[in-house]
Symmetry: C2
Subunit: 294 residues, 2 copies
Amino acid sequence: MNSIVNVIERTFEEQANGTLVSPPRFRLETERGDMVFTAGAATAFEKVIGFRVYDTYANDLDGHQQLVCVFDSDTGVFKGIVIGNLLGAVRTGAIGGVAIKAMARTDSKYIAVIGTGIQARAQLEAAVAVRNIKHVRVFSRNHENREAFAAEMEKKLDIEVVAVDSPKSCVQGADIVICATNSGTPVFDAEWLEPGVHINTVGPKSVKRHEVPMELGARSSVIVTDSIEQLKAYPTPHFLVGTPDEERIIQLSDVVTGKTLGRKGQDDITLFCSVGLAGTEVVVANEMMKEALC
Amino acid sequence: MNSIVNVIERTFEEQANGTLVSPPRFRLETERGDMVFTAGAATAFEKVIGFRVYDTYANDLDGHQQLVCVFDSDTGVFKGIVIGNLLGAVRTGAIGGVAIKAMARTDSKYIAVIGTGIQARAQLEAAVAVRNIKHVRVFSRNHENREAFAAEMEKKLDIEVVAVDSPKSCVQGADIVICATNSGTPVFDAEWLEPGVHINTVGPKSVKRHEVPMELGARSSVIVTDSIEQLKAYPTPHFLVGTPDEERIIQLSDVVTGKTLGRKGQDDITLFCSVGLAGTEVVVANEMMKEALC
């Protein structure tokens, strides 16, 4: 995860410098389901071009796969394919790690995680890669899931991970809150947050379905996303679109390159809204292939 | 090739019935080169959805690859990938075979082939799959290429294949002419053609660069293509676009399904302009995978 956070950080530099190409999604539509393509190229540092493709079929049969195909952006030569659904979460996790590195207080020690799925795991792993974390609390409505998450991640990360039985006891006192659920209603109350906390929201964030409270926008002194273009292009609007806070949303690439601050003061609340910048999948797949070849 | 010609024929039935989905190409563009996606689905008989992707980088390094990825169009489940440049030629060959089956005289015995590349080989193989061919002549400007083609294809097809030293001696007397070159100027004279001949043109066919004579349109009583939409969308216009013959171009799917005739009389000259109907690559890849699993 460390090396992937680093290449994603460089990819945001490419975005700021104009060498990241990420056109809008392309869809092949049929009555039963679609294939969706997110293509992209990072031509300066990573020198990759390629795409991710996944299906929108509404069934849970085994055998659904995401493919990420990677080519050399200097030559067009084929480099390889990563097949499977793990890469997407690793990618989103690494973007979350870059956001935490750029926005969370450098002395952050306690992380609250709400959600126990593959995205929550990847976010936590990336957070630990960029901050000196001492303690993690995790909440999920499902008792078994949160206990399993705590046991597994404590072992994996070699950090104390405690499952707690309410979102309030999870969030209170946290330096960083990772929200990675499928919830359409807020999973915590903005009043529970401490000054100086940073929040990553990975789950639903439309005006109709959002896992974080609406008022979090107004409470946050800095609001960042990985792609304003993608955030504004959601089929149902983002929960901040149309609010006074919309104008304050800045791009993670501008924070990474030092053009704007990710945090103004130690007591600020800062918010990162993850949308999954297109093109980053190809960079992650390339990095995974490099490591697999070592 | 027999089974691939058959599934391509069924795919043209799907096109006629409206169950073939083939949106316009999608391109990911960078300064050095593009990735081009031709996506498609055949949802009634073949039940496949997927895409081909290839690059436009202007270099001849090893390692350029076309990928064709296949999913089940009922469920979205991933079926597999075919990697390599052979599939495209097999696909175009099979489309040529369907055209010959639908348009050439049923008693066709002699085939003339101009061009000795991978496309010429695949066209000939498909032609032999649909007509009882007794004799083949081949011409290329390169002596070694035409001799190698003749020796190789005679062995592969178990039919007499003779290399000849002029295009005229190749084309004269032929029942079927396969033109599969990279030539930008006509490689034969329309005057050399016999009544009743059928021509497949696979190579350049724009108004600026065309391997067949311009007057071939007017000489042909039936003109067919695999996709009128694609034929009209060429960046430089097709050599028949803007001529009085343009209105007479019909779609191979309409011939395959019996809606229109591919040949009106035994002495007609008939012309098939191959453009490579998008979506057919996925059907061919699926068929190849079925056979590989046998």
